[in-house]
């Protein structure tokens, strides 16, 4: 099969048209002459001319071929032979692709791990190589930098390769620590192995893949563009399967009762246990929480078991079992832990880590824009009433009301949320204070009202030219609000709202009542066209935004288009107001840690292994100081994102599952932690369908390998028969280069031969024909007659005439 290494150079084929164009442009200038006779252009001449035309065409063809072949040479064509009969005597270059993902740590019936077995079988393949053969190892685990090659180029030091495989087999069996990579990227590894072999001179290029062939291991999406033409090694898959029926339990997901637990309140944790084994199994699930320094009964990582529960009935094969554990966090601050299931065969997927910030109390500062001595007329009356429902003993939310002019002096250190209710405008210093507060992780909730000055809000709080585009998620359009407060007519009711938002989800299910019956007599029309990343959470029945939200630095800002008292709406006296306000305030207060939306779930602290942790940098903050402690207690540093406008740092060394703690004293991030868990798919030990020796599904996924170069050998002892089957590519461009060279050398000779015959020769002095002068000779008798007739009467005239003739040109 022919292929091109760099087909882009085929564009150069167009250069073949250049000689043709020159030739045609010369031929175009034909001029036809009507001439008296063509009798002097003989057939012989025409024959020789046709020959010369033929030679010219030959020259043209040579020149075109020269250009075209040169372009072809640059495109580097090659010939890929079909896999030949095994010939172990020819030179070989072998790459071992070893799947070192978590699933390979499954302990087989004999107690050894699959990885250990794979490494030993791979070592046996290396042992078979001849001294001149070369070998390398690629570890197929999913890593941030792609699959890992032990040797950049295949090496002839077979002993080193073999030893490295054997030592890997030993460490895999001991299984003290997990390998760094926990996902699998088999296609990427095979491709890397092929790239490594591409420039090898050995006759046979072979790739041996030792893997449990987990279905999950083939899900890497980045290889869609690969084509069969560029691939030319022989790939032998050696499935490493458990010898006995599989038995594995895994916690694949955990549901938590709330985004953020409150201190002193029981918190529910619901782990999902999946049985990936062949038999139904029962099991015990335990909850472990990080213990204080020096506490008793802690494990190696510093966690203490706080709860344990057995699954009520055995989980069927391929099914989930769910149970609920409860734990009450007594202290506030960042808490972490894990849920574990007891399973010996594959330990890597037995734990799911978590990390929360437990809230002790939420302090809210409410800026009152329209205070009144009559309590019911006070702007904040309904809000305060709703938030303090149940009394301060069970309610962690504490609202402190301040006037507009007192806000500047109000301390915000322990405050999670600032509420602005019908505030006319704020002084410049107060705005700056508010911006700093939200940027560093606080949240802001804005209710509008009749006091509001749209000009101030639009210019100072929501202008695109401001830092991060201003605080507000929307601008206020129009100088007067929609509807009139005076006539109490209904201007709007509540229309669509975002059902998946934590603050509003209850209204879609009916759990917290409905939003029906709520009417708005007046509201400000909001415009989200110029603001960035705004989420419209609630709309009026007319489609106008009613509640908008956006992130600002480390915090969030929400904007409600109407008032929080009864002036403009009947919402405060409806039953839905209490859960609405409570959840909205709780949501805003809990989200203060500033997670970016591209995390696993918005606002959560949960990541998968290999996924980078992201953290917004406060304006004026120092990104370099954010050090992070990994689960194995080694440390790393957040690195600044390459995009300077994003103002965020990222940490990508998240290969280990566990809890990562930020170590940044004296910053709001101090003590913050992230939970990183194994990709759930690794627990699924079901291997890909390799067909009955055909590798059906395998070939479907790896189309770019080519069906005839792919083999699946279940019995590792048969691998010797595969030796020498893979055939490397034959480089055609070297031959082409010689052809080009030959033509290039011949071309001047050919050109010279043609032009010297047909062009150079006539270029001498133009040949002219001597005009034959009239040879005057009359016939014999006529001469006599003439003489007789003219006896030269006047000799003088004759002389003169002859002179005249002589002088005539």
């Amino acid at each position: 099969m022919f292929g091109l290494t760099t087909p882009l150079y085929l564009v150069g084929l167009l250069s073949a048209a250049i000689p043709l164009l020159i030739h045609l442009s010369r031929s175009r200038k034909t001029r036809t002459l009507r001439f008296s006779t063509t009798r002097f252009l003989t057939d012989q001449f025409l024959r020789s001319y046709r020959m010369s035309r033929l030679k010219e065409l030959l020259l043209l063809a040579a020149r075109m071929a020269l250009c075209a072949l040169l372009a072809m040479t640059f495109a580097e064509p090659f010939f890929k032979g079909a896999p030949a009969e095994g010939d172990a005597s020819q030179s070989r270059s072998v790459v071992i692709v070893l799947d070192d993902s978590a699933s390979m740590l499954y302990r087989d019936a004999d107690g050894g791990t699959l990885l250990s077995r794979a490494a030993r079988e791979a070592a046996a393949v290396i042992k078979e190589l001849k001294p001149s053969d070369s070998a390398s190892i690629v570890l197929a685990g999913r890593r941030a930098g792609g699959p890992l090659a032990e040797y950049r180029e295949p090496t002839t030091d077979r002993a080193a390769v073999e030893n490295s495989l054997l030592s890997l087999a030993d460490t895999a069996n001991s299984a003290d620590g997990l390998p760094e990579a926990l996902g699998t990227d088999l296609p990427g590894s095979v491709l890397l192995a092929d790239r490594m072999l591409k420039d090898r001179d050995e006759a046979s290029h072979e790739i041996y893949v030792f893997s449990d062939l987990q279905r999950r291991g083939f899900s890497a999406p980045a290889l869609a563009g690969e084509s069969e033409a560029s691939f030319d090694a022989r790939v032998v898959f050696v499935p490493i399967r458990p010898t006995a029926p599989v038995s594995n339990l895994a916690i694949t997901a955990v549901q938590y009762g709330a985004v953020r637990p409150m201190a002193g309140i029981p918190f529910s944790i619901r782990p999902h246990i999946r049985n990936d084994g062949a038999q139904p199994r029962s099991c015990t699930v335990s909850l472990h929480v990080r213990a204080a320094e020096g506490a008793d009964d802690v494990d190696d990582e510093g966690y203490r078991k706080v709860a344990e529960q057995e699954v009520p009935e055995p989980i069927e094969s391929g099914r989930w079992g769910v149970l609920t554990l409860h734990h009450t966090f007594n202290d506030g601050g960042w808490q972490s832990g894990y849920v574990a299931v007891d399973d010996e065969r594959l330990t890597a997927d037995n734990r799911r880590y978590f990390s929360f910030e437990v809230l002790e109390a939420v302090n809210v500062v409410a800026v009152n824009g329209s205070p009144s001595s009559i309590r019911r007329k006070d702007e904040l009356f309904f809000l305060q009433a709703a938030l303090s429902a149940g009394g301060s003993e069970v309610n962690p939310i504490e609202v402190r009301s301040v006037r507009v002019n007192a806000f500047q002096a109000a301390p915000l250190e322990d405050v999670r949320l600032v509420v602005m209710a019908n505030v006319e405008s704020l002084p410049e210093a107060a705005v700056a204070k508010l911006e700093r507060f939200v940027d560093r992780g606080g949240s802001l909730l804005v209710f509008l009202g009749n006091q509001v000055q749209p000009a101030f809000y639009n210019k100072r709080l929501a202008d695109p030219s401001l830092t991060r585009g201003g605080l507000l998620p929307a601008t206020i359009s129009g100088a007067v609000p929609q509807g009139q407060a005076a006539d109490n007519a209904t201007a709007a009711t509540i229309g669509d709202f975002s059902a998946d938002h934590p603050a509003l989800a209850g209204f879609s299910t009916g759990e917290t009542g409905t939003l029906g019956g709520i009417t708005l007599s007046t509201y400000w029309k909001l415009d989200t066209a110029t603001t960035r990343n705004t989420r419209v959470l609630m709309k009026t029945d007319g489609g106008d935004p009613l509640l908008c939200e956006r992130n600002y630095g480390g915090g969030r800002v929400a904007l409600f288009a109407s008032s929080c008292d009864r002036d403009w709406t009947n919402f405060p006296v409806r039953p839905a107001f209490l859960p609405f306000v409570y959840r909205l305030v709780g949501h805003l207060a809990q989200s203060a840690s500033g997670q970016q939306t591209d995390s696993v779930a918005s606002g959560s602290n949960f990541f998968q292994t290999g996924q980078p942790l992201r953290q917004a940098v406060p304006v004026g903050g120092q990104a370099q100081r954010l050090r992070i402690v990994k689960p194995d207690r080694s440390t790393g540093v957040f690195s600044v994102s390459s995009d300077p406008t994003s103002r965020e740092v990222a940490f990508s060394e998240t290969g280990q599952p566990g809890v990562y703690r930020v170590e940044a004293p004296n910053t709001p991030q101090a003590g913050r932690s992230f939970a990183v868990n194994l990709e759930a798919g690794e627990s699924d030990l079901v291997s890909i369908d390799t067909g009955e020796g055909d590798g059906d599904q395998l070939r479907e996924i790896l189309t770019w390998v080519g069906a005839e170069r792919l083999a699946v050998i279940d019995d590792a002892t048969q691998l010797g028969g595969q030796a020498g089957i893979g055939r490397g590519r034959a480089r055609l461009w070297e031959i082409l280069m010689w052809v080009v060279l030959c033509i290039a050398l011949l071309e001047p000779a050919l050109a010279n031969w043609i032009t010297s015959r047909h062009y150079l020769k006539p270029r001498g002095e133009p040949k002219t024909i001597a005009i034959p002068t009239g040879q005057v000779a009359l016939g014999g008798d006529l001469n006599d007659l003439a003489v007789a007739r003219t006896p030269d009467p006047n000799p003088t005239t004759s002389v003169e005439e002859s002179e005249t003739v002589a002088s005539a040109p």
Binding site: K29, T30, R31, T32, L33, R34, F35, S36, T37, T38, R39, F40, L41, T42, F45, L46, S48, Y49, S52, H758, Y759, K761, P762, R763, P766, K767, T768, I769, I771, P772, T773, G774, Q775, V776, A777, L778, G779, G780, D781, L782, A786, V787, R789, T790, P793, N794, T797, S798, E800, E801, S802, T804, V805, S807, A808, P809
Partner: protein, 302 residues
């Protein structure tokens, strides 16, 4: 008294004459110019032969009354004489298509040849000799038998002016045919480009010689035909046969000139061995100048 010098004809260049479009005038200008200042022609070789008697009518010169007949018949008769010429001259003009080629001053070879023929006719008539005209291409097209007198000359001029080019050159056969047709010994002046098989032409000319005719050949050729100065021509169409040849211009030229040289050599040598007066009339040369030079040379030889 000096003979005519070529500078005297400077106003009679072919282009100027061509513009006259009047052959008789042109010919007269040429010939009289040529003879201007010479002694009057001696009019030798003229004899007066009795033709017949005619009844006398008043007004006729009484010198010609035949008194002997009056004595016998008692009636007045006058003698009629037939003027006899010593020279019969045929001008054979080739009017084939190839003769219509011409580049000098827009004048074709045929026009040049016509002027030449007209001048020669005038010249012969001027000497009171009989002159006839034959035009031919692939066969004899028109034949005016030689006569004497100004009226006949006018007929010839009219015929010459009326010639339209056409047909292929196939001279050799026509020559044989003519040689058989012309019974009396004559001077045959052939004006043609002779673009035919040279050996066949020479054989045709020899036939004239065999019949004791005096043969003069003027081969009219355009300067282009002699030098082939075209460097940018890549296709040539034959005016007679329509044959088209495509080639490289430089390859054309070399081959053409070689073949042309061979052709002219064959003709010249053939004419020389048969005592045929052969001249190439290049149309670039003013024909009065050519004619003057030719006549002078011929005269010198005589």
């Amino acid at each position: 008294m000096a003979t005519a010098s070529p500078t005297q004809f400077k106003y009679l260049d072919p282009q100027a004459l061509g513009r006259l479009k009047n052959l008789s005038l042109a010919a007269r200008l040429v010939v009289e110019g040529f003879f201007a200042g010479m002694h009057k022609s001696p009019h030798r070789g003229f004899s007066v032969e009795f033709a017949e008697h005619r009844e006398y009518t008043p007004g006729v010169d009484p010198r010609h009354i035949d008194w002997k007949v009056f004595g016998r018949r008692d009636k007045l008769y006058v003698k009629q004489y037939e003027e006899e010429t010593s020279l019969r001259c045929y001008i054979v003009l080739d009017k084939s298509n190839s003769m219509s080629y011409g580049t000098v001053g827009g004048m074709s070879k045929l026009e040049y040849s016509s002027f030449l023929a007209a001048s020669l006719a005038y010249l012969v008539a001027f000497q009171h000799d009989a002159v006839g005209l034959i035009t031919l291409d692939d066969e004899v097209r028109d034949m005016v038998p030689p006569r004497q007198g100004p009226g006949h000359l006018r007929v010839l001029m009219d015929r010459l002016e009326a010639i339209e080019p056409g047909g292929e050159t196939s001279l050799a056969e026509s020559f044989h045919q003519l040689a058989e047709t012309i019974k009396r010994r004559s001077v045959v002046i052939i004006i043609s480009d002779l673009f035919d098989d040279p050996d066949a032409i020479v054989s045709g000319l020899k036939h004239f010689r065999h019949r004791k005719h005096d043969v003069i050949v003027f081969q009219t050729l355009d300067p282009d035909e002699l030098s082939f100065p075209f460097d940018d021509v890549s296709r040539i169409e034959d005016m007679e046969t329509g044959r088209e040849i495509t080639s490289d211009p430089r390859a054309f030229r070399n081959s053409y000139l070689e073949e042309l040289g061979r052709f002219l050599d064959t003709l010249r040598e053939g004419c020389l061995t048969s005592h045929i007066d052969y001249s190439v009339a290049e149309t670039g040369t003013p024909f009065d100048q050519f004619l003057g030079a030719y006549l002078a040379r011929r005269h010198q030889l005589m």
